[in-house]
């Protein structure tokens, strides 16, 4: 059980809340309070759009404990449109569909389970963008 550990991260897991650097304006995810680029304080919250593209991907056949229910599954590095890269699973697609550069969007899915009666951890995964966004 690590209820508080996962509860603390709900803003990140469910909404992709990161930070903006006060000094150079770089967007950060995950939040780290100190800018990766210029090392200035970066504590202003910023909610990412959840849009990005596949930077790299792989298929996990030997799943770690807690992830067996989902195997085989794909994990990717997603380059968010604001710049940062996140590690996340691909979902709602077949194993042979992924390619580098594929446009994807964030969705909320089950990440892991702790047995039949344990906690279920939810968080972000990314799926192909199915429809073109409406432009006004």
């Amino acid at each position: 059980m690590e209820v508080s550990r996962h509860w603390r991260l709900q803003k990140q897991r469910y909404e992709l809340v990161g930070e903006t650097c006060d000094s150079c304006g770089v967007k950060l995810f995950p939040p780290r309070d100190v800018c990766l680029e210029c090392e200035a304080p970066a504590q202003e919250l910023y909610t990412f759009t959840g849009l990005g593209e596949v930077f790299s991907y792989t298929t996990i056949y030997d799943a770690p404990a807690g992830f067996e229910h989902n195997a085989p599954y794909q994990v990717a590095l997603i380059k968010l449109e604001e710049g940062p890269i996140v590690t996340a699973q691909l979902t709602d697609m077949a194993l042979d569909e992924a390619y580098i550069g594929m446009p994807v969007e964030m969705v909320t899915r089950k990440l892991r389970t702790d047995g039949e009666e344990g906690m279920i951890v939810y968080g972000y995964k990314f799926r192909p963008i199915c429809f073109e966004p409406v432009v006004n």
Binding site: P30, T58, I60, D62, A63, P64, A65, L111
Partner: protein, 380 residues
Amino acid sequence: MQEVAILGVGQIPVREHWDLSLRQLAVDAGRAALADADVAKVDGIFVSNMTSGRLNKQRHLGAMVADYLGQRGVEAVKLEAACGSAGSAMRQGILAVASGEMEAVLVIGAEKLTDTGFTETTSALATAADADYEIIQGVTFVGLNALIMRRYMHEYGYQREDFAPFALNAHANGAKNPNAMFRDPISQKIYDNGRIVADPISLFDASPIGDGAAALLLVPASKAPNAVRVVGSAVSTDTLAIHDREDPLWLKAAELSAKQAYEQAGIGPEAIDIFELHDAFSIMAALSLESCGFAERGEGVKMGQRGDILANGRLPISTMGGLKGRGHPVGATGLYQLAEAVLQIRGDAGEAQIDGVNIAMTQNIGGSGATIATHILKRP
């Protein structure tokens, strides 16, 4: 700061040692190094290990090892930096001797990975990565390296088969090392047919799980005129997670630590005779060669294809099997690399001996590149 020399080395063959405990492995390697140096008492012991708290339910290894080595009373502590623990412990041992605080220091790396099942062991190894932002996504440590390898292939236009020379070279050299876990060479065909673990990484692009221990005895160079010299020693860090790196295809900590080590030694990469790099995965070997200045960006794989990395090549790597052939008992690995470099310089590498090794470099990587220790050793 005074110059440091390596007076003794000890290694336990890397195996699935069902008959040896973590304690026994560490003590046997330590005793071997003491015997090799002909030293009975030391002033300090630095133990390196990654997983003992979780897999062996034993921490506090400094005191445990000092006690069972007959060195009760001496200062002893364990250091941990994931798979880079041993290189980091070596660095601390060197600082202790170089500063003049200690005269004889034992650095012992030990790891016991096979008492537990595959899932538990790999979960423990995965703690090298970012638990909240990498591992929670179900990615394994192999998976993280696969993400780097696929991007590398995409950016530079390589196929999976192009990485084969790293695995073939490591296994060919491991066959000549009695301490290696794997003693048989492999062919291109065997490599090509390797089971995919996390595409594009196959079984033959990944190092095995094994138990082992290795130890070095350090003294001031002034006390050991004929012993191998440490002429460069540096540890650098980078972001814990791959996704936070400015460039996921560049080992910044390798570049920084190698640069410092070159400066300390007063040499450049062209002066290195052999390079014991951290080939936990084939892709890491390529990145290490590039980040340390042996190859241009994206050209590390070509050093394999050209045969530069072979025992008779321009820059022999993994000369006694590397992590792939000798094995990768994580917290001990960096000390195996250093012990092998010492044997090569001394001319004691047996069948694996490379002719005329004067200067050897070793590089030990923690996680996917977050801690990197680089050492340069020289013939006295």
